[in-house]
């Protein structure tokens, strides 16, 4: 009879993922950056001593002057307060957008991928049609008609983002569905519910987690692009895009007004992308056991 030598207690898939994620220096750096920015977003507006829309007498003063840690903008508003508020806003929008897109994507993509046939044909053709409509224009139209409130902007971003998660999850489910162990589960007599919950779900979801991270980063950027183009949040709402947009006139003589919200946007997106990268490696079953 075959015997193998004693090997250490085996890790479950998720234990192994955690171990590999935290063993990756780059993903730790991303995580640390994100945690720092989130803390700044939460406590920043409370400790600065200014309100985000409070107009002051000091216009365009540099960082550190008159109690303004990061200076003021052209209306004398405190940049630190506005930037930390912007982090809060950007992240909230991005997370809500991603959550809705993933919910839609898992539901529609799961149905299309699992059942196939005409259901899949309808959903897939609908996505194909949707895709050829230029997404920025849809966003423009929605915001122009309904105004630039939080939920309208979320809706505009979901409209342009839901189909990629749907297509991805559909592909993921179709791939897992065709694997032998799903057929094996059917052959043992497992019910459809059990096959979906125990066999397809746990194996189809990990690729989605990675996309989820990149989709949060993408939503933050899209929101800023909208704001910059004047169809997203508007003054005086302190979105990072709004701040970048309003400060572009001072880019040459007072660059900090532009570069502070700009670099926060870059750092925020970068931290999330780094985490997504680390997750992709950690979740890849082919890399299991690789240190």
């Amino acid at each position: 009879m075959s015997q193998i030598e004693q090997i250490p207690q085996s890790l479950s898939y998720w234990q192994d993922v955690r171990k590999r994620f935290f063993g990756n220096k780059i993903s730790i750096v991303g995580l640390a950056m994100l945690v720092f920015l989130i803390i700044a977003g939460i406590v920043g507006p409370f400790i600065s001593g200014w309100k985000y829309d409070e107009l002051g007498p000091d216009l365009l003063v540099g960082p550190g002057s008159n109690g303004h840690w990061l200076g003021t903008d052209d209306l004398g508003r405190d940049i630190f307060t506005r930037v930390t508020f912007g982090i809060r806003l950007s992240l909230t929008v991005a997370i809500v957008v991603t959550a809705i897109s993933v919910f839609v994507g898992v539901a529609l993509g799961g149905i299309a991928g699992y059942f196939g046939g005409w259901v899949d044909t309808i959903i897939s053709r609908f996505i194909d049609t949707w895709q050829v409509i230029p997404f920025v224009l849809i966003g423009f139209a929605i915001i122009t008609v309904f105004g630039s409130s939080f939920w309208v902007i979320v809706a505009a971003l979901v409209f342009t983002g839901w189909y990629s998660t749907t297509r991805l999850f559909r592909a993921s489910v179709m791939q897992v569905k065709s694997l032998d162990y799903v057929e094996a589960a059917r052959a043992t007599g497992a019910s459809t519910k059990r096959i979906i919950l125990r066999h397809i779900g746990p194996n189809a979801i990990p690729p989605i987690i990675v996309v989820l991270a990149f989709s949060v980063a993408g939503a933050i950027l899209s929101e800023s692009v909208y704001a910059f183009l004047g169809v997203g949040f508007r003054e005086p709402t302190p979105s990072l895009g709004v701040m970048i947009s309003s400060s572009r006139n001072y880019l040459t003589d007072k660059p900090f007004v532009f570069f502070i919200p700009g670099s926060v946007l870059v750092l925020l997106t970068l931290s999330i992308v780094l985490i997504g990268d680390g997750l992709r490696d950690a979740l890849d079953p082919k890399l299991r056991g690789v240190k």
Binding site: S2, S10, E183, A184, A185, A187, T188, G189, H199, R288
Partner: protein
């Protein structure tokens, strides 16, 4: 005559060939084209043929993992072909399958114990994976029970296949379909797995349908052998008859391709080896008459015009116009 455990009558499976955006059906693949056979209780039938001849499709049809286009399957007194999805689900307790690829057939997120326990849980025979029957089956398949908490990626191919066998046998089914269970394994491990399967059958009286492309593997374990070519059974008989007295030219060619262990015999035989030329024709457009005629050295005009029926000849059944004497 009492009813055998499994009786398959004129089983047929066509796969549509679809093209274009609207999935127009432009043709059909006759994967399995009217085959009939029986398996008695405790018996092993070997089903051999080359890749693409429909043997794996046959295996899946019997288990209703695929729905047959036509034909009847009688198993354990039930009309398998007529059961609803829910009825067939309950029937799976008595009919199980072992897959070819031990790397793809085990869920990477489940421990060995969870995998082996699943059939029991599904059929309400155990509450969870702590049931003693699970560990007992793991040990019967030659694995230590300490391996129960491990994940499939920690095992070798042979060990994984033991897990697959444990999963298939844990409900003590009456019929087990073995779909090329050893062809993905090293030769040294193949023998271990075949012996294990044979031992377990002797112990519990399972019936096997053993699907393989390798006659030497089939001869190891099967009492009867059926040879398939392009969706049809061309010859079926006892192992001794098929090996010592093959009547269909295709069977003869297959047997002459089995390597012999003795190099002297092998050298002598090499001169008389039958080497088939060409490829298997497409099952979307099979040859008229006898399907083997395009590669057969005995083919004559009649082979193109009339299709030979599977007739009893001596102790076997053969579908050929010019069988060997």
């Amino acid at each position: 005559m009492s009813e055998p455990l499994l009786r398959v009558v004129n089983l047929e499976k066509k796969f549509p060939i679809q093209r274009g955006l609207l999935k127009r059906t432009v043709g059909q693949i006759h994967a399995v084209d009217g085959i009939s056979f029986e398996i008695g209780a405790g018996e092993t039938l070997g089903l051999v043929g080359e890749s693409g001849c429909g043997k794996s499709t046959t295996a899946r049809l019997i288990l209703r993992l695929l729905d047959p286009t036509a034909g009847e399957i009688y198993f354990n007194g039930k009309e398998i072909h007529a059961l609803s999805r829910e009825e067939i689900r309950k029937e799976r307790k008595d009919m199980q399958i072992v897959f070819q690829d031990p790397y793809a057939s085990l869920n990477p997120r489940m421990t060995v114990r969870q995998i082996v326990a699943e059939p029991l849980i599904v059929h309400g025979l155990a509450k969870d994976d702590s049931d003693p029957a699970v560990d007992e089956m793991i040990e019967l398949c030659g694995l230590s029970r300490e391996f129960g908490n491990r994940y499939p990626h920690e095992f070798s191919g042979g060990q994984r296949q033991r897990v697959g066998i444990a999963r298939a046998l844990v409900t003590r089914p009456k019929l087990v379909v073995l779909d090329e269970p050893v062809s993905a394994l090293d030769v040294s491990v193949q023998a271990q797995i075949l012996n294990l399967l044979d031992d377990l059958r002797e112990k519990f009286g399972f019936s096997y349908l053993f699907v393989a492309h390798d006659l030497s593997v089939v001869s190891h374990i099967s009492a009867r052998v059926a040879v398939m070519y392009l969706g049809k059974i061309v010859e079926i008989g006892t192992r001794e008859e098929i090996f010592e007295n093959p009547q269909h030219p295709y069977t003869k060619a297959l047997i002459s391709a089995v390597p012999l262990a003795n190099p002297k015999q092998e050298r002598v035989r090499k001169t008389s080896r039958i080497v088939l030329t060409g490829d298997v024709p497409s099952p979307a457009n099979p040859p008229s008459g006898c399907r083997f005629r395009t590669r057969c050295w005995k083919a004559q005009d009649v082979c193109a015009t009339s299709e030979p029926q599977l007739l009893t000849l001596g102790k076997s059944q053969v579908a050929c116009h010019f069988p060997e004497k």
